[in-house]
Amino acid sequence: MDRILIFLLDSSNAILVLMLVSLGLAVIFGLMNVINMAHGEFLVLGAYGVLTLQWAGLPFAACLVIAPMLVALIGLAAEELLIRRTYERLLDTILATWGLSLVLRQGLVLIYGPGSHAVAAPDMGSVPVFGEIYPVYRLVVMALSAAAIAFTFWVFFRTALGLQARAVIANRNMAACLGINTRMLDRLTFAFGAGLAGLAGAVMSPLISVDPNAGLGWLVPGFLSILVAGLGSLSGPIVGAAGVGAVDSLAAAISSPVWAQLTVFVAAIIVIRFFPQGLMALKRREA
């Protein structure tokens, strides 16, 4: 019983963070039709941001707030300098962002060295959860991730900005005909998506080894998550990440992390191959 509980908590933790990553990818893809291969590096930048700000003497909570914002700024710059020049060329967005990921990764090597760093975990102790002792910080990670996901949904479905974004996703030209500044929305969206990845990296920074190559391990599961559930809605990445994360956790519990990842990838590839519209389209058809 106790082992199962801890397992469930750990899995939820991993799943929630994966949801953040996929959500960022999906937001960027949905609005701008950009496949962001640099998303994993944005996550890693979030972690390095915390590391650096901590070195500078800032308290951990401040780092958690500032690091994602810095990543969002980097995203903004990338959009302006690079991404917007490849709009309308879907495959070229892959290449351009791939190049960006390479530069960011190697930039981190240059600045911080190729090795891995450890971010000092905030000392929050542990609390009993349903009779089991569990580290408080991991609960904080879950709460922050869930809050960020809820915030994203709130922005998209409850604010004027979100309404405009949904209009642009549906029909970019018509949205512009109503006076919506689509360029501005592109910028904001990319920065927001990058910020979500940065937040994921920031909250995870004390729990992972922070190294320049850590991004790839998040990028591919993130993509598989959004493809498995299907593009075109915000709930897609949430459902997909839940599925991918759950299979990963289960398989890891049964075998090893390596085999778990293989299982997830192969299963996801099979799903994507047979349901290119995603599994959620299936349910929609039945309904």
Binding site: I35, L82, R85, T86, R89, L90, L91, D92, I94, L95, A96, W98, G99, L100, L102, V103, Q106, G107, V109, L110, L216, V220, F223, L224, L227, V258, Q261, L262, F265, V266, A268, I269, I272, R273, P276
Partner: protein
């Protein structure tokens, strides 16, 4: 002779004469660059001509490399002859590409970005498998792979390697050009331009793509085999993400829709890298990445692809016939 073949001839002549201006040890470096160029050509054929962007093409290169290594190290029941190694290094990736291709493409299968992401995920899968396989040497890979043996002679003389691989590269480009101009190749171009129309004209576009993918995989495998027998060892880095990414850079920088341009891209990037990585060190990948991004944005046809296209246009203008 068309302007295009004049350019191709001149490039070939340049590389035939190049050893005169080079120390012997540099020749074997160039032999390796030519090997990478064969790999680049296989990717450019798939991407530029068929329109399939494979983000994990090193899988087939790596499979060829491991197949060659396993055979020539005598790890199989087969005799450890180079010929058998090369044959398997072409067959194994070919079969894998055929099976995966059939799976991907059959009946309105994966296209565009989906194909790219799935191939990327596959590169991870294969890299992980290579790392976790003790038979294949795990993280360290296979070491002391012998050179190719032709009629009882081990080929390690730099000059022989240089011309041997230059010849093979030229042959590969020629072969693929013939394929591209054949009926099969024209149909593939049709699939690239408008798959739906090709399908409504009654062509089995899925099967066309499967065979193109298989052919590309076989050539990548050949390049892998040639690589390990010069380099001496096969490691998981040959099969996974990083080499796939590098190959994409070569092809994008060189020119995706022109095989020769892609080959020159591989040779040049590798050469420049060897010249600059000493001076620039860890800054080099940043420079390469920036160049890559710049070319994607401003020179979608690539450096050499653009140059050749311009030369050809200039040729057509000045030559009214």
């Amino acid at each position: 002779m068309s302007r295009r073949s004049v350019i191709e001839m001149l490039v070939l002549v340049f590389f035939v004469l190049l050893p005169l201006a080079m120390p012997t040890w540099a020749l074997s470096d160039f032999a390796i660059y030519f090997t990478y160029a064969i790999f680049a050509v296989s990717l450019a054929f798939l991407w530029g001509h068929v329109g399939l962007l494979s983000l994990g093409h090193a899988v087939y290169f790596g499979l060829g490399a491991y197949a060659m290594g396993v055979v020539t190290l005598g790890m199989t029941v087969l005799p450890g002859w180079s010929v058998i190694g090369v044959i398997l290094a072409v067959l194994v990736p070919g079969i894998v590409a055929f099976v995966l291709g059939s799976f991907f493409f059959a009946s309105s299968g994966l296209t565009g970005a989906f194909f790219g992401i799935v191939t990327l995920a596959l590169a991870f899968v294969f890299e992980r498998m290579a790392i976790s396989s003790t038979w294949l040497g795990g993280m360290n890979g296979l070491m002391s792979i012998p050179p190719v043996v032709v009629f009882g002679h081990e080929i390690y003389d730099p000059l022989v390697l240089y011309f041997g691989l230059l010849g093979l590269l030229a042959l590969t480009i020629r072969l693929l050009q013939v394929v591209m101009r054949s009926r099969f190749g024209l149909l593939l171009a049709g699939v690239r331009e408008n798959e739906l129309r090709a399908a409504t004209l009654g062509h089995q576009t899925a099967r066309l793509k499967v065979w193109a993918f298989t052919l590309s995989g076989m050539i990548a495998g050949l390049a892998g085999a040639l690589f390990v027998s010069q380099f001496g060892f096969a490691s998981p880095s040959l099969i996974g993400f990083s080499l796939s990414a590098e190959a994409l850079i070569w092809v994008a920088l060189g020119g995706r829709s022109n095989l020769l341009a892609a080959a020159l891209g591989a040779i040049c990037v590798r050469f420049v890298e060897s010249q600059l990585s000493g001076a620039l060190g860890a800054v080099w990948p940043v420079v390469a990445g920036l160049l890559f991004m710049t070319s994607v944005v401003f020179l979608p046809r690539g450096l050499f692809g653009e140059a050749m296209a311009r030369l050809q246009v200039a040729g057509r203008r000045s030559d009214p016939s």
